[in-house]
């Protein structure tokens, strides 16, 4: 359904950090959305408040998980929901990460902040078919240790599955932090990949995406093999409202996941 929201029930609420919540959503009635691919997004409707685009952060058989950071009116309303509340969902919209592009290749997943959320289903899918890929790197950046998303689950991925080279870094350490400090791009130095045979998936704040793509290119990863997920204002998700333009790109249809080759020159122009 793309025209009107389909009611979904909140079946689980998990507080990920001070400002971020994961909502588990299941169809409230008979009607359900078509299956999502990792990287795609839904328009999530908070009754009486509004609608925002949110990438899917886990894909179950009927359930979907959306991880939402409270930054505006709608996201704040979503973060305040309790189990049993209902939201409306439209979707799935946009492009997926396209994990199949990485078959037989090394994978580098680089995330900043809540950028880990849209990449979680990709990491899970890669872990589930581990032999189809070469080395699998997950490089996670977070402002502080307290803001780190899915911390216990990242540990579980590393422990229970085939080799996952995971590194986490924070911008501002707390006294108890024992790990890396610094930008997520610094982790690329110790990541394990052969650049000419690598597909990278990157999501985070735009400056982080630029810096990561630049470093990956510098290492020799091909631009079309750097897949990034970008954020723009969206009102309709169906290519009609005009808000999500980046040059000729309509982010809701051509993105949110898009090859660096298509956006590099556009993102180089201030305020485009």
């Amino acid at each position: 359904m793309n025209d009107v929201p389909v009611p979904y029930q909140v079946t689980g609420v998990r507080r990920e950090s001070a400002d971020t919540v994961s909502l588990t959503l299941a169809p409230a009635g008979e009607e359900a959305l078509e299956p999502f691919a990792p990287g795609q997004f839904a328009m999530v409707y908070a009754f009486g408040v509004g609608e925002i685009p949110v990438s899917v952060s886990r894909i179950g058989r009927r359930e979907l998980v959306h991880t939402v950071r409270s930054v505006g009116a709608v996201s704040a309303a979503l973060c305040a929901l309790r189990p049993g509340s209902q939201v409306g969902l439209r979707g799935p919209f946009g492009t997926g990460w396209g994990l199949e592009r990485a078959a037989g290749q090394d994978i580098v997943v680089v995330t900043g902040g809540i950028g880990l959320a849209p990449l979680r289903p990709l990491v899970l899918a890669a872990l589930a078919a581990r032999r189809a890929y070469g080395r699998l790197n997950l490089l996670v950046g977070s402002r502080t240790p307290e803001d780190l998303l899915y911390a216990d689950r990242i540990r579980a991925w590393v422990d229970s599955h085939g080799p996952l080279h995971c590194q986490v870094t924070v911008d501002r350490p707390s006294p108890a932090w024992w790990g890396h400090v610094g930008l997520v791009t610094t982790l690329l130095n110790s990541a394990l990949f052969t650049p000419e045979n690598t597909t990278a998936y990157v999501c985070g704040p735009e400056p982080m995406i630029r810096a990561t793509a630049r470093d990956l290119l510098h290492r020799g990863v091909r631009p079309e093999r750097i897949r990034v997920s970008l954020e723009r204002n969206m009102r309709c998700a169906t290519g009609h409202c005009g808000h999500c333009q980046l040059g000729g790109v309509l982010m809701c249809l051509d993105g949110p996941v898009i090859g660096w080759d298509r956006v590099e020159s556009l993102l180089a122009v201030r305020e485009l």
């Binding site: 009107v4 009754f47 509340s85 169906t238 009609h240 409202c241 808000h243 333009q245 000729g248 305020e271």
Partner: protein, 387 residues
């Protein structure tokens, strides 16, 4: 569209009969009328509501109604509105939602029946604009159902252009004063010693049917020639022209041009150009609730890329400066529209020039960007040869 075209001649009574025939079909007939010192589109009850004896004088930032002695009805240029007012209305309810006491949500799509329109006096530039909005709103992966219903139900009567204005530049955008396709009926106004009349051509079966019920005269050679001559003459009388260059490439090469600062110093970012533009389609949404808080409605309304909030993200707007917002508008219209919808977004109707409160002229801006680019390329070449 049918291949066979029937032509005939209508006199003023024939025009009246046309309005009545369309109304008798249950259609809402919309045409130009005179109100508040402008030619505005409105529902008309009879042909008497049309702007007989009114013309317009336009310039950048200026629009005046002027009386005409000849009683012409289609001698005015584009007014402040376009047909998107009806096909892509300014406000539209998308859905209604109810929240029950137990928290259950139910959402109902707005299913109100769409009016069946007849548009009288659609200019060739506006025919092209409608075709462009068709591609944007009714084409693609997610056709807009409401738009499509209104559009397929609409009966279009073109009025070929015989009195272009000083801000018109359709010819330089690949169009012209003649209506070639996309209409049910096309009228060409003829005023000479033989009288005030309209050469009418059919463009569809629906048009044939309507015409067959009207009092009409056979199309004589004199009227045909007079109509052709008037339209041909209009082609050479366009008040403005876009620079004869590849505008798409020009915009692509000009993203960092200095000219954007120059235009930004004049632009008020009021968004008038986007409101009057017949192809600008951008919308935003708002959530409206009643006092109980259990009933909410989702409304869509026109938005403008000149609004700071248009590109709002939680970190702030993507396009904060006037420079970037004007650039967004112009480059989208003339360049990136091709990538998105396969054509230019400009039909050369001149509305944005006329209705800009400070008289910014899109053709002048494009020419200035072209000059700047030419200069830059020349300097670069010079540097290369010096090396």
């Amino acid at each position: 569209m049918t291949n066979s075209t029937t032509t005939a001649v209508l006199d003023r009574d024939g025009l009246s009969a046309l309005v009545q025939a369309l109304a008798a079909q249950g259609r809402t007939v919309v045409g130009p009328t005179v109100r508040d010192g402008a030619v505005v589109l409105a529902e008309i009850a009879s042909a008497d509501d049309l702007p007989f004896g009114w013309g317009t004088e336009v310039e950048a930032g200026r629009y005046r109604l002027v009386p005409r002695d000849d009683g012409a009805v289609f001698a005015h240029t584009a007014g402040p509105q376009s047909w998107k007012t009806y096909l892509h209305p300014q406000r539209e309810r998308l859905w209604s939602a109810e929240r029950a006491a137990d928290g259950h949500l139910s959402v109902t799509e707005d299913g109100s029946e769409q009016p069946s329109y007849a548009f009288l006096g659609v200019r060739p530039c506006d025919l092209r604009a409608i075709a462009i909005q068709d591609r944007v709103l009714a084409g693609g992966r997610y056709p807009d159902r409401g738009y499509r219903e209104r559009r397929t139900g609409a009966f279009l009567i073109a009025a070929e252009c015989t009195e272009p204005g000083a801000t018109c530049f359709c010819v330089s955008m690949g169009g012209g004063p003649a209506a070639d396709s996309g209409f049910d009926l096309a009228l060409t106004e003829v005023l000479d010693r033989a009288g005030h009349r309209f050469l009418v051509r059919t463009g569809s079966e629906a048009g044939e049917e309507v015409l067959s019920g009207l009092p009409r005269h056979p199309a004589d050679a004199h009227t045909r020639n007079a109509a052709r001559t008037a339209v041909d003459a209009a082609r050479d009388r366009m008040g403005r022209a876009m620079p004869p260059v590849d505008l798409r490439a020009l915009m692509g090469e000009s993203l960092e041009a200095d000219r954007w600062d120059d235009v930004a110093a004049r632009c008020l970012t009021c968004g008038n150009c986007t409101m009057v533009c017949p192809t600008c389609f951008c919308t935003t949404t708002e959530e409206v609730t009643d006092l109980t808080g259990d009933h909410a409605e989702r409304w869509q309304h026109w938005d403008s890329c000149f609004d700071v909030d248009f590109s709002h993200l939680h970190g702030g707007p993507v396009r904060a400066s006037a420079r970037s917002r004007y650039r967004q508008w112009l480059t989208h219209k003339l360049s990136t529209w091709y990538e998105q919808f396969g054509s230019s977004g400009c039909v050369g109707c001149g509305r944005c020039v006329t209705w800009c409160p400070v008289g910014i002229d899109i053709t002048e801006e494009a020419a200035a960007l072209h000059d700047e680019l030419t200069d830059r390329l020349r300097r670069e070449k010079q540097k290369e040869t010096e090396r």
